[in-house]
Amino acid sequence: MSKIEKAFQNGKAFVAFLTGGDPSIAKSEEFILQMVDAGADLIEIGIPFSDPVAEGPVIQQANMRALSAGVTTDSIFELVESVRKKTEVPLVFLTYLNPVFNYGYDRFFNRCHALGVDGMIIPDLPFEEKDELAEVADHYRVDLISLIAPTSAQRIKQIAKVAKGFLYVVSSMGVTGMRSEFKVDLKNIIATAKESSNLPVAVGFGINTPEQAKEIASIADGVIVGSAIVKLIEKHGDAAGIYIFEYVKNMKEAMTGD
């Protein structure tokens, strides 16, 4: 069992996302530790990219803020190096293929392995193009996390069968960002995925309220929240830590029914 799968062993998992380096590397570290203290089971760090096509406006702007502050892929690795001295929480990266390609697949995954990054989410790397880096990710024991979309239909089985870490079910059509309701038949998608895989299933895109977290947690193994956390950073900047802590704590409590 990989470290990521273990993150789903203590009840329903709360997966918390932030864009690395927004508003600064030092603050990202502080926010990550706050999220862990508040009960986050898995931390997803976005490596900023100039053109994040799967993101809505909130995370797009976080990418821009981080890049404008001079954040690079190397600074994100330094962030992980520092975070790893303080917590053993499972960490995954989310970024687009081009920054990874330009860093060099071997160099990138070697560094992930050395620093203790457990998984990788790449929204523009579909099943058909997995071979691009599946082998090198395997070699360095970094789980390449697969996404399942509302449109995946007959592809769900194919994807789930060879997936690693956890299955990331996209709750809605479109890009990331807070939504007031979910129109997709998530229950059915999750059931189909579970027929082909023993991996935990987490749902992301649009989830932002404790009620939604509770509702999703009743049908999935985990809940992924990004834009709502990034929005707190956008609003409170350097002072966002306490708001993030409270937010994550509320979400986690809603899911576990405490």
Partner: protein, 394 residues
């Protein structure tokens, strides 16, 4: 070569949400590609609506003045809507209609592709929404109004650098939001498979005609075929039926903006590096970390940080040659063609003319250069005047 690949280039690097749609699109395209009815309908539109076949024109005065190779212009500027863009748009719109789609979306830079898409949508009775960088909507206000006249909604894109690449990002985001009834009409030989292949096929009508036309008047093939390249759709269409004629030199002219020695250019082959973006592996202008670079050209149509994957491949195997042309050279060529042949061409096409002005005198009088004159220049007149410091009191 693997499906959708051009050497190492191409592929389908898109979010999972779009994958089934791309597979469906490819299946439908493969079906209709061989469907007589579809062909007949498309040919009818191309001939009776767009005005094809486009003329092959012998630029006699230019030939004489330059004193070298004979110069022919393939007049895509005479098509309805004023450029080669209509060839691809009619093909994709007709395909989308057959697929049961009711809504077209597209990105546009200067507005040529947006106007062509809005035109096809009006003709075929489809909804149309165009994504255009906010900066471009301001520079090309006339084209925005033109698209609105045609019934399209134009969305100014305020993300990123607010130009063409951001318009593509936003159109892709919109497509992932609403894919069921919507077809994304890519404007160039770029994006994920099957777009580079499909757009090339629809644009290859240019070289199918041009090859036959030149053989008809000259009884031999040209020595060089020249076209401008941004994403590369007019060039790919112009090169395609000459690919097997290895004695024919294929030359693409990319935008060097203020010079390839500055950071203000869009010269992807000369200055870019291998990357994966907008659904494809190809060459891109980017930094060492793979952040896509802001690009610049006086020509909004060439102002794109990537190039179609088939061009990247033709460059790799040295079948085609790609040459950077600066703003200054293109503007000179724009004026030169107007003065010499009485043709005001698009500033994009002027990049090809500029290279031929240098190339023709070095060639023998019995040699032939064939240029794709991809569009007309009405849209550029104001920008050229601005560039020359002329105040038009608009």
């Amino acid at each position: 070569m693997a499906k959708g690949r051009y050497g190492i280039h191409g592929g389908q690097y898109v979010p999972e949400t779009l994958m089934n749609e791309l597979i469906h699109l490819e299946t439908c395209y493969e079906h209709y590609k061989n469907d007589a009815d579809f062909h007949h309908a498309l040919q009818k539109l191309l001939n009776e609506y767009a005005g094809r076949p486009s003329l092959l024109y012998f630029a006699e005065k230019m030939t004489k003045e330059l004193g070298g190779a004979k110069i022919y212009l393939k007049r895509e500027d005479l098509n309805h809507t004023g450029s080669h863009k209509i060839n691809n748009v009619l093909g994709q719109a007709l395909l989308a209609k057959r697929m049961g789609k009711t809504r077209l979306i597209a990105e546009t830079g200067a507005g040529q592709h947006g106007v062509a898409t809005a035109t096809a949508a009006a003709l075929l009775g489809m909804e149309c929404e165009i994504f255009m960088g906010k900066e471009d909507t301001e520079r090309q206000a006339l084209n925005v109004y033109r698209m609105e006249l045609l019934g399209a909604a134009v969305h100014p894109v305020t993300s990123g650098t607010m130009t063409l690449k951001d318009a593509v990002n936003e159109a892709m985001r919109e497509w992932t939001t609403r894919v069921q009834d919507t077809h994304y009409v890519f404007g160039s030989v770029m994006g994920p498979h099957p777009f580079p292949m499909m757009v090339r096929d629809f644009q290859s009508v240019i070289s199918r005609e041009a090859r036959a036309q030149i053989l008809d008047v000259e009884l031999k093939l040209p020595d060089a075929v020249v076209a401008c390249v941004g994403g590369g759709s007019n060039a790919m269409g112009m090169f395609y039926h000459f690919l097997e004629d290895t004695q024919v030199k294929l030359i693409g002219c990319e935008a060097a903006g203020r010079g390839t020695e500055t950071d203000q250019h869009a010269a992807t082959i000369a200055k870019g590096s291998l990357g994966i973006f907008h659904g494809m592996k190809s060459y891109f202008c980017q930094d060492e970390y793979g952040q896509i670079a802001p690009v610049y050209s006086i020509s909004a149509g060439l102002d794109y940080p990537g190039i179609g994957p088939e061009h990247a491949y033709l460059h790799d195997i040295e079948r085609a040659q790609y040459i950077p042309v600066t703003d200054a050279e293109a503007v000179d060529a724009f004026e030169y063609l107007a003065r010499t042949e009485g043709i005001i061409c698009a500033i994009e096409s002027a990049h090809a003319i500029a290279h031929v002005i240098k190339l023709a005198p070095k060639m023998a009088k019995n040699q032939i250069i064939l240029i794709c004159l991809s569009g007309r220049g009405d849209k550029d007149v104001a920008a050229i005047a601005r560039y020359k410091g002329v105040n038009l009191h608009e």
